[in-house]
């Protein structure tokens, strides 16, 4: 038992030492992410935040104080994330926190924020429940909702003459929501479509050969793809080799994001209609300015969608604190209502209705140029017309 005392005493003293080192005069914001578990997505995100933070501080900071982001790794575990959030808020003196890519971590943080009355800006999680079914007073969300992105693809799909669809999506909540939204929107636009097969590979454990065979067996006219990351790589390779995509329309959610299409290099699929981020073809305006600033800040690197999301997260926080004029939680909650933020995508608004931002999405067709997967014929879509109606949202969102 003596040893236990020593251990805990050591741990305690380490903690005390840690808190003493805390700098006093800055506005701190915590960011919790899977910096190790999903390094490929979280690193560009962090760089985006750091770029925005530098810009804010070069312009004089917030309320006369410097803005200071504290980055913490949660190892992808919701339980750890909640503990770290508590630590950031109660010990490190953060005024609010942001972060998370995995939906489950986002949901855990949002529930925690609602219970304890801390502000959480869900920057990247893909779960729409964050602002709808499980929404609460203190949780706000930046990233374009999955529902809207699926609706954008459904709109395009309805224009084609394909009737029989196959879907493939990772077998977890995000994949399920993405398929459901696509089906709902497509059926509404074109009631005669039928879904001949639904494939659900386990996330990051796809058996691509078998999936391709199963889809081929159903003989669909078109395919709706929600797989991403390594699953997408394997699916594209097996599908191309076995001729699955020949003569078929493919609609890919997130497929055009640099995170996912760049590793495919010259094997990137061609002619898919996807959502993504065509940073390489911007020519002017705030879109281009961001890309230039990012490339200048990180020589040899190109922006990912995660970079943009990170940048917009920090910019949203800056706009929020400036508008509130204080860092008091209630003032911040009030300021979040219809908060307007200038972003590389133009002005976005955090809707008072459901705390969802109006960050939009780029849609376009994939192509291979100079041995690289890119999006061509792309356009930027404002999400508002694609959202569920105000009444539907009010029905979904729990009363405050």
């Amino acid at each position: 038992m003596k040893k236990l005392i020593t251990t805990v005493a050591l741990a305690a003293s380490a903690l005390v030492a840690g808190s003493a080192a805390m700098a006093a005069d800055s506005i701190k914001i915590g960011d919790i992410n899977h910096y190790k578990r999903l390094a490929a997505f979280a690193e560009p995100y962090r760089k985006g935040i750091e770029l925005a933070q530098k810009e804010v501080n070069d312009a004089g900071g917030l309320l006369g104080k410097p803005m200071e982001y504290i980055f913490r790794d949660d190892d992808g575990k919701p339980g750890d994330a909640v503990k770290i959030a508590e630590e950031l808020m109660t010990r490190d003196g953060a005024v609010m926190f942001s972060g998370a890519i995995l939906s489950n971590v986002g949901l855990a943080l949002s529930s925690f924020a609602g219970e304890k009355g801390f502000i959480y800006l869900a920057s990247e999680p893909l779960a729409d429940d964050l602002v709808w079914e499980a929404g609460n007073r203190y949780t706000f969300r930046l990233r374009t909702s999955t529902y809207v992105q699926a609706a954008l693809l459904a709109e395009e799909a309805a224009k084609s003459d394909a009737v029989k669809y196959a879907t493939i999506a990772p077998n977890y909540a995000y994949g399920k929501a993405a398929v459901e939204a696509f089906k709902k929107n497509l059926k509404a636009l074109k009631p005669e479509v039928e879904f001949v097969t639904e494939q659900w590979p386990a996330l990051f454990k796809i058996d691509a050969g078998a999936e391709v065979q199963a889809i081929e067996r159903a003989k669909p006219d078109a395919i709706y793809n929600v797989t991403f990351g390594t699953d997408l790589q394997k699916f594209v390779r097996e599908g191309t080799t076995r001729g699955l995509f020949d003569g078929r329309k493919v609609y890919g959610l997130l497929t055009g994001e640099p995170e996912y299409i760049e590793p495919l290099a010259d094997e990137a699929p061609e002619g898919w209609f996807v959502t993504g981020y065509p940073w390489y073809s911007f020519t002017s305006g705030p879109e281009k300015e961001f890309v230039d600033a990012y490339e200048a800040a990180y020589p040899g690197e190109t922006p990912r969608l995660g970079s943009l999301v990170g940048y917009m997260t920090a910019k949203s926080v800056a706009a929020l604190i400036t508008k509130a004029g204080s860092t008091d939680t209630e003032a911040l909650v009030a300021a979040f209502a219809d908060l307007k933020v200038d972003s590389p995508m133009g002005e976005i608004t955090y809707r008072a209705l459901d705390h969802q931002s109006t960050m939009g999405a780029y849609v376009g067709t994939t192509a291979v140029k100079d041995s690289k997967g890119v999006m061509v014929d792309w356009s930027y879509k404002d999400p508002t017309p694609y959202m569920p109606s105000t009444d539907e949202i009010k029905l979904m969102r729990p009363a405050e």
């Binding site: 040893k3 903690l15 630590e87 949901l107 529930s111 219970e115 977890y172 399920k176 199963a214």
Partner: protein, 620 residues
């Protein structure tokens, strides 16, 4: 018909990499008795080394040469790991080495990230094998056919090596009786190193050979390890042909699963494993477990005694300090200690079954998460008051333990461990894929305590009372007649039976007790976090508990609690750093080498040697 054949071929092609990795693990286990958690990391390294070499070396020769070279390089890395990390701890208690291999996983993860960066690498295609062949009208990639052709050669090569060569004879002899081989003058340590080289090289080869069908990414290690364990266990530990049959079985089954039950592919594998192990406890081609019958490696476990007056006073004082903490400490310190206390109770419950009962469970998280889910489901669906939902958590977990215990208790040793893992993964995959009820991976949220406990300090006191109470109760059970009986079944099954004890029933009861206390910890956990997700049932959570028990000292009573306290505090402190996994991994390896009896066990020995602690006093 064409499709059926095509699916069969896909399954056979998928089996290639799985077989290579699994046969390596099987070999290593068969000879060294080390359950090598880091085997998935060698697979990942094989993929990264392979992809790097292929980008420099051109053509056919470059491609196939890279695969072989990746195997050799990873084999050498395996040798380094064996010599530096595992050699010093061969004499430690059985299965202790798995803690060291866990440290190796962490180190390799961070080093891979440092060297190759975070971006996923797509594997190059095999030159000359980029197209498809039409078989009965179905397209089959040429590389799949190449894999199907190569695998039997590798199987035959390994079989020849093991059955026909002198090295193979030595390996087989060592698999059956290590001591005897040593007594006959064979240099055991080099034999072990050699086997480790071969096993790691096979894993590396597996990683490199799958490149044209996938690539290299940082999640590969954990993604494959569960399936590899399943294959090794179904095939029979130590059996190469068994690994082959099981790899084919699992891969083919998976291909058909994708077509006919696309929603339940995860569940399928574990159902098969549970069925095979229930019918054939030693796997398809495995041999009956003999190890452990004549006692364990290392010092015999000491008799236990209730703590002396000094010990009791110290513990009381310590608890008093904990109780006074909210008066002076920060809120966060209370939150951190709440986490640590919950984990301590969880670890103590594992220690009870593992150390006192001598039954190594690889799936203890199923009861921790199970208890948490019982509470969460009650709150979500029936609006059960928090108090009732909390009290029902240990009962739910206990019921689960009665069910799982009925299947697993008939086995012992490593096969017991593997079957517990199979069942816990089965429950995990059910929870994960039954989204309508359990919320799938989006879990159940908004499970917060009642108003009187919602303050941080209030919940801290509640956790303190329940955890300390639980730990003391487990200690009390250990010192009760039931505890004595349980230790008798551990130390000598035959003698215990001869004195009229119903060994299996006692072990089953102990399994249920351990499960119920883990469920209690789970109940505390869910209300402290306000949410529960399938991760808490996952194999990784089981390993976390296992690691702290071994780290604290498996042959002690307080090891689990000390290990949990140590690990959680260190983790909280280290995760602030950029490469915290590397540091944590090295720290774990360091502790393992310096203190092969665990923290408590080694400190006790040190105390005795220096005369600070008298031997009798230390028998706590």
């Amino acid at each position: 018909m064409g499709l059926f054949v095509a699916q069969l071929l896909t399954g056979l092609a998928n089996a290639a990499a799985l077989f290579l990795v699994a046969s390596g693990l099987s070999l290593i286990f068969g000879v060294t008795r080390i359950v090598n958690f880091a085997h998935g990391s060698f697979y990942m390294l094989g993929a990264y080394v392979g992809v790097t070499l292929m980008s420099v070396l051109p053509g056919h020769f470059g491609f196939w040469g890279s695969i072989v070279a990746a195997g050799l390089i990873v084999g050498l890395i395996g040798v380094i790991v064996e010599i530096c990390v595992l050699r010093p701890v061969y004499r430690a208690p059985e299965l202790f080495q798995l803690v060291a291999t866990f440290g190796v996983i962490l180190v390799i993860q961070d080093l891979t990230l440092m060297i190759w960066g975070s971006e996923d690498r797509l594997g190059p295609r095999a030159p000359g094998l980029k197209k498809v062949v039409r078989i009965l009208g179905e397209p089959i990639p040429q590389y799949d056919l190449a894999l199907i052709a190569i695998t039997p050669f590798l199987l035959f090569g390994l079989w020849w090596l093991i059955t026909k060569t002198r090295v193979g004879i030595l390996v087989r002899a060592a698999t059956q009786d290590r001591e005897m081989v040593g007594a006959l003058g064979v240099n055991q340590s080099w034999l072990f190193t050699g086997v480790f080289f071969l096993g790691s090289a096979l894993a590396g080869l597996g990683g490199a050979i799958q490149l044209p069908k996938g690539g290299a990414d940082l999640l590969m290690d954990f993604n494959i390890i569960a399936s590899v364990f399943v294959v090794v266990v179904i095939g029979g530990m130590g059996s190469i042909p068994g690994a082959f049959i099981a790899a084919v079985l699992i891969s083919v089954l998976n291909v058909f699963g994708v077509t006919y039950v696309p929603q339940s592919t995860l569940v399928l594998m574990y159902v098969v494993m549970a069925i095979v192990l229930t019918v054939r406890p030693w796997g398809l081609l495995g041999r009956e477990e003999k190890v452990g019958e004549h006692g364990q490696v290392g010092d015999p476990q000491r008799p236990i005694r209730p703590a002396g007056t000094t010990g009791r006073l110290l513990v009381t004082a310590f608890i008093a300090v904990l109780a006074l903490l909210p008066l002076m400490g920060s809120t966060f310190l209370q939150v951190l200690l709440t986490d640590i206390l919950i984990f301590c109770l969880f670890a103590a419950s594992l220690q009870f079954i593992l150390s006192t009962g001598g039954l190594v469970s690889f799936g203890h998280a199923v009861f921790f998460g199970g208890g948490a889910y019982v509470s969460a489901l009650l709150v979500t669906y029936f609006d059960t008051p928090m108090e009732l939902a909390f009290i029902l958590a240990p009962f739910g977990a206990g019921l689960l333990a009665i069910g799982i215990g009925w299947f697993v208790i008939r086995l012992s040793g490593v096969y017991f461990a593997m079957l517990t893992m199979a069942f816990s993964q089965l429950v995990w995959s059910l929870v994960f894929q039954w989204g309508e009820v359990t919320g799938g991976d989006d879990g159940l949220v908004n499970i917060w305590p009642s108003d009187w406990l919602s303050e941080t300090s209030a919940y801290y006191y509640f956790t303190l009372a329940v955890s300390v109470g639980g730990i003391l109760m487990l200690r009390h059970i250990t010192h009760s007649p039931f505890g004595y009986a349980l230790r008798a079944t551990r130390d000598s099954t035959r003698q215990a039976e001869a004195t009229g004890m119903d060994v299996k029933k006692i072990q089953w009861a102990a399994f249920v007790v351990a499960g119920a206390f883990a469920g209690l910890a789970g109940g505390l956990f869910v209300f402290s976090k306000g949410s529960i997700f399938p991760d808490e049932l996952d194999i990784a959570t089981s390993f976390d508990a296992l690691i702290v028990v071994f780290l604290g000292g498996v042959k002690t009573l307080s090891g689990g609690v000390v290990g949990a306290g140590f690990m959680e505090s260190v983790k909280d402190w280290l995760t602030r750093m950029e490469y915290w996994r590397l540091i944590l991994g090295l720290l774990i390896i360091g502790v393992v080498i310096i203190a092969p009896d665990g923290i408590v066990g080694s400190l006790r020995k040190l105390g005795e040697r220096t005369g600070l602690v008298k031997e009798e006093e230390s028998m706590r």
